[in-house]
C-alpha cells in the first residue's frame, strides 16, 4: 500500500512538475557541448557502464571459459550429475517464458487498449493505469507468496505448473501493458475514426490499424516479458517447491541448503554462462527482427 501511494504521488506530482529550465548558462553549456567535453563524457559513460553494470553482471560466467578445457563442459553437455537438473530447469524456464509471453499478448493487449484509449472513462482508466503497475511495486517474492496463498487456499486443485504460470504472468504483465499502451497512445485517434467512417467495425479497426502500427512495440513488449520471466526467481521459489527454473537451480547451487554444495564454482559459472549465452542469442535474433522498423 505504501509503495502504491508513493507511486501514485510520483505520477500525480511528476505530471505537474516543471523542469527548472528558465535559467540559462550559455558559457558553461557551450563548454560542455564542445567535442572534447562530449568525447570525455561519452568515454566516462562507457567506462562506468562497463565497471558498474556489465562486468559485474557477467563476472560469474568467467569461470565458464576455463571449463572448456575440463570435463565440466562435456558433463554439462551430456547432462551428467547436477546438469540433468540444470537442463530440466532451463527447458522449464524457456517454456514458461514462451507460454507467459503468449498469454500476456492475449490478455495484455485488451488492457493496453482500455488504458491507452480511456475506454472506461477518464478517472476509472487512470486508476486502472495505476493498478496495472502493482506487480512492479511489489517485491517478486512477496507477490509469489501472495499468489501461492491465494490460489492454494481457494483453488487447491490447481497444479503447481499453473501456479508458476500465473505468478510469472502477474509479474510480467505491467511490462507488456506499459509498452503496448504507450505505442497505442502514439497512434492518432483520427486514424481509428477514419477507419470506422470507411466501414471498419471496431475489431477490424484493431486488426487493420492498431495492430499493424503497434506490432513492433508489441514485439518489444513481448521480448521484455520473455526476458523478465526467464530471470524471475523470487516468485518462482515462493510458488513452487517441486518445479525449479534455471535461475532457481543456480541460486540453490550458489546458496546451498545442504552441504557439501551440489555444484563447484566452475559448474556455477558454466551454468550462468549457458543461461546468459542462450538468452543473449534469443534476444539478439528477436532484436534483429524488429530492428529499425515500426517508426511511422
Amino acid at each position: 500500500m505504501v509503495s502504491l501511494a508513493i507511486f501514485l504521488a510520483i505520477r500525480v506530482i511528476g505530471a505537474r512538475l516543471r523542469m527548472p529550465g528558465k535559467q540559462v548558462w550559455p558559457t558553461f553549456e557551450r563548454k560542455l557541448s564542445y567535442s572534447k567535453a562530449t568525447s570525455t563524457r561519452n568515454g566516462a559513460t562507457l567506462v562506468i557502464f562497463l565497471l558498474i553494470v556489465l562486468i559485474p553482471s557477467l563476472y560469474v560466467a568467467l569461470p565458464a571459459f576455463s571449463a572448456v578445457f575440463t570435463p565440466t563442459l562435456s558433463n554439462a553437455i551430456s547432462g551428467t550429475g547436477v546438469w540433468g537438473q540444470y537442463w530440466q530447469g532451463l527447458t522449464l524456464s524457456y517454456a514458461l517464458g514462451a507460454i507467459v509471453t503468449v498469454l500476456n499478448v492475449i490478455i495484455g493487449l485488451p488492457m493496453a487498449v482500455i488504458v491507452a484509449r480511456r475506454k472506461l472513462g477518464k478517472m476509472p482508466s487512470a486508476i486502472l493505469d495505476l493498478l496495472v503497475n502493482v506487480p512492479l511495486i511489489v517485491p517478486s517474492i512477496a507477490l509469489g507468496v501472495s499468489l501461492a496463498i491465494f490460489w492454494k487456499q481457494n483453488f487447491a486443485f490447481i497444479p503447481e505448473i499453473w501456479l508458476l504460470i500465473f505468478a510469472h504472468l502477474a509479474i510480467t504483465y505491467p511490462y507488456f501493458v506499459r509498452a503496448t499502451a504507450a505505442a497505442i497512445e502514439r497512434i492518432s485517434v483520427d486514424m481509428e475514426e477514419a477507419s470506422r467512417t470507411l466501414g471498419a467495425k471496431p475489431l477490424g479497426v484493431f486488426r487493420t490499424i492498431i495492430l499493424p502500427l503497434t506490432k513492433y512495440s508489441v514485439f518489444s513488449g513481448a521480448i521484455m516479458v520473455f526476458t523478465r520471466s526467464i530471470s524471475e526467481t523470487g516468485a518462482t521459489v515462493a510458488v513452487s517447491s517441486a518445479l525449479k527454473t534455471a535461475p532457481v537451480v543456480i541460486v540453490n547451487w550458489v546458496k546451498p541448503t545442504i552441504l557439501p554444495p551440489p555444484a563447484t564454482p566452475m559448474e556455477i559459472g558454466l551454468g550462468c554462462g549457458f543461461l546468459i549465452l542462450f538468452s543473449f542469442a534469443i534476444l539478439l535474433v528477436l532484436r534483429l527482427i524488429v530492428r529499425g522498423k515500426g517508426r511511422y
Binding site: S188, D190, M191, E193, A194, S195, R196, T197, L198, G199, A200, K201, G204, T208, I209, P212, L213, Y296
Partner: protein, 367 residues
C-alpha cells in the same frame, strides 16, 4: 443521395454545451458549409452527424433514417479529417482501397473504384507512395479519394484545407466541390475561413457558441446579415451606434452621435430604440463635393492604404466616429490623407440591428 436533418440536437462535454439545441436541414446533393470561429461547435456538430460522438438530446436523420444509435461504419459516410488521417503503414493505393476492402467489395470492384477516384484527384502516378512521401496537398487529395472510394453518399469534411498553404488551399477547394457535384454527393464542409465557405458553398450555416446564428446562401449572408455577428464575421462592416428617431415604411431614420441622421433599411426597429447601423466598406460612397444632400456625413481622411486591387480609406467622421471605406483602385479618383470628404450611406445597403444586450464587443467577438 441523402439529405440530413438535425432536430433539436444538444451535446455537452461536462459543463460546456458544445452544440445547443441545433436544428438544420441539409438538402440532397447540397454543398453545405458550417462556418464559425474556433470553438463554436461546428466540428462537434459534424462529428455528431458522422456518429463519432452521440447527441445528449435530439435526433439526427440521414435520408429519413434516424441514425442516433447507428455506428459510423453503418452510416455510409466519407469523412475527411483536417489532419488527413492517412494510414502511415499503407501506400496511397491501399489507403484509397481500404474502404472497399473492409466493406467486403470484391477485389475487381475495389480496384476499379480505386483507379477511378485516383484519376479524379489526379494522383494516379503516385499509387505506391506512402503518406510520408507525399506533400500536404497530395495527402489531402488521397484522403478525399479514400472517402469517395468507400462509396459514401454523404461527404463530411472537417477543415480539410486547414493544414495547407494558401495556393494549394485555393486550388483544392474548387476541386473538392467539383468532385462532390460530379458524383452527386451531399457534402457538409466545416471551416472557419469565410472566403472558403463563400467560394464553394450552396448554403452556409454561421455558428457561434454552439448555436446556429443564420443560414443562407453566401449572397444572402453577405448582403442581408440578420445580426451584428454575421455582419462582422462575414466580410467586414462598419458599425455605428445610434437611436431610431423615426420610421417610415421599411426605412428608419437613425440619429448617430453628435445628432447626425442617417436613413437606413429597417426590419424590426422601434422609435427610440438603441440600434447599431451596419454598412459594408465597399457599399459606402466617398465624394469630395456633395452631389446630393441626403444620407451624407462629412469627414476627413485619416489614413490611406493601397492594397493593390483596392484602396482602403479610414475616415474620421464629423461626430468623431471612425469608419472604413474600400474602393477599387482602378476606378474613380484617389483621395489623400487630410482630404475633407463626404461619405454617402446608401439606405438600401445600410442595415439596422437591435443593440445587443451583451454589448457590441461581446456580440461581435469570436470567442
Amino acid at each position: 443521395m441523402p439529405d440530413v436533418r438535425i432536430v433539436n440536437v444538444t451535446k455537452r462535454f461536462g459543463k460546456l454545451v458544445a452544440v445547443n439545441n441545433v436544428s438544420l436541414h441539409i438538402h440532397d446533393e447540397e454543398y453545405f458549409s458550417l462556418l464559425g470561429p474556433s470553438g463554436c461547435g461546428k466540428t462537434t456538430l459534424l462529428r455528431l452527424i458522422a456518429g463519432l460522438i452521440m447527441p445528449d438530446e435530439g435526433e439526427i436523420y440521414i435520408e429519413d433514417r434516424l441514425v442516433n444509435d447507428v455506428p459510423p461504419e453503418d452510416r455510409d459516410i466519407g469523412f475527411v479529417f483536417q489532419t488527413f488521417a492517412l494510414f502511415p503503414h499503407m501506400n496511397a493505393w491501399n489507403n484509397v482501397t481500404y474502404g472497399p476492402r473492409v466493406k467486403g467489395f470484391d477485389m475487381k470492384k475495389a480496384e476499379t473504384i480505386g483507379h477511378e477516384v485516383l484519376e479524379m484527384v489526379k494522383l494516379h502516378e503516385r499509387l505506391d507512395a506512402y503518406p510520408s512521401e507525399l506533400s500536404g496537398g497530395m495527402m489531402q487529395r488521397i484522403a478525399v479519394a479514400r472517402a469517395l472510394a468507400a462509396g459514401a453518399k454523404l461527404l463530411l469534411l472537417d477543415e480539410p484545407l486547414g493544414q495547407l498553404d494558401a495556393k494549394v488551399r485555393n486550388e483544392l477547394r474548387y476541386d473538392i466541390r467539383k468532385m462532390a457535384k460530379d458524383l452527386g454527393l451531399t457534402a457538409i464542409h466545416v471551416t472557419h475561413d469565410q472566403s472558403e465557405a463563400m467560394a464553394i458553398s450552396d448554403r452556409i450555416a454561421v455558428m457561434k457558441k454552439g448555436k446556429i446564428i443564420q443560414v443562407g446562401t453566401p449572397q444572402e449572408l453577405y448582403m442581408y446579415p440578420e445580426n451584428v455577428f454575421v455582419a462582422h464575421f462575414i466580410g467586414e462592416s462598419n458599425f455605428l451606434e445610434g437611436y431610431v428617431s423615426s420610421i417610415s415604411g421599411k426605412e428608419a431614420s437613425v440619429e448617430l452621435r453628435g445628432g447626425l441622421k442617417i436613413e437606413a433599411h429597417d426590419a424590426v426597429a422601434k422609435p427610440g430604440e438603441k440600434v447599431i447601423l451596419a454598412v459594408r466598406p465597399e457599399a459606402l460612397m466617398i465624394e469630395k463635393e456633395a452631389e446630393r444632400n441626403d444620407n451624407l456625413i462629412r469627414g476627413s481622411v485619416e489614413r490611406v492604404t493601397f492594397e493593390g486591387t483596392n484602396i482602403r480609406y479610414e475616415i474620421r467622421l464629423e461626430n468623431q466616429d471612425l469608419i472604413v471605406i474600400v474602393k477599387p483602385s482602378m476606378i474613380g479618383k484617389w483621395f489623400n490623407m487630410g482630404d475633407k470628404v463626404n461619405v454617402g450611406f446608401p439606405s438600401e445597403k445600410t442595415h439596422i440591428f437591435k443593440y445587443p444586450d451583451e454589448g457590441l464587443k461581446e456580440a461581435t467577438s469570436s470567442e
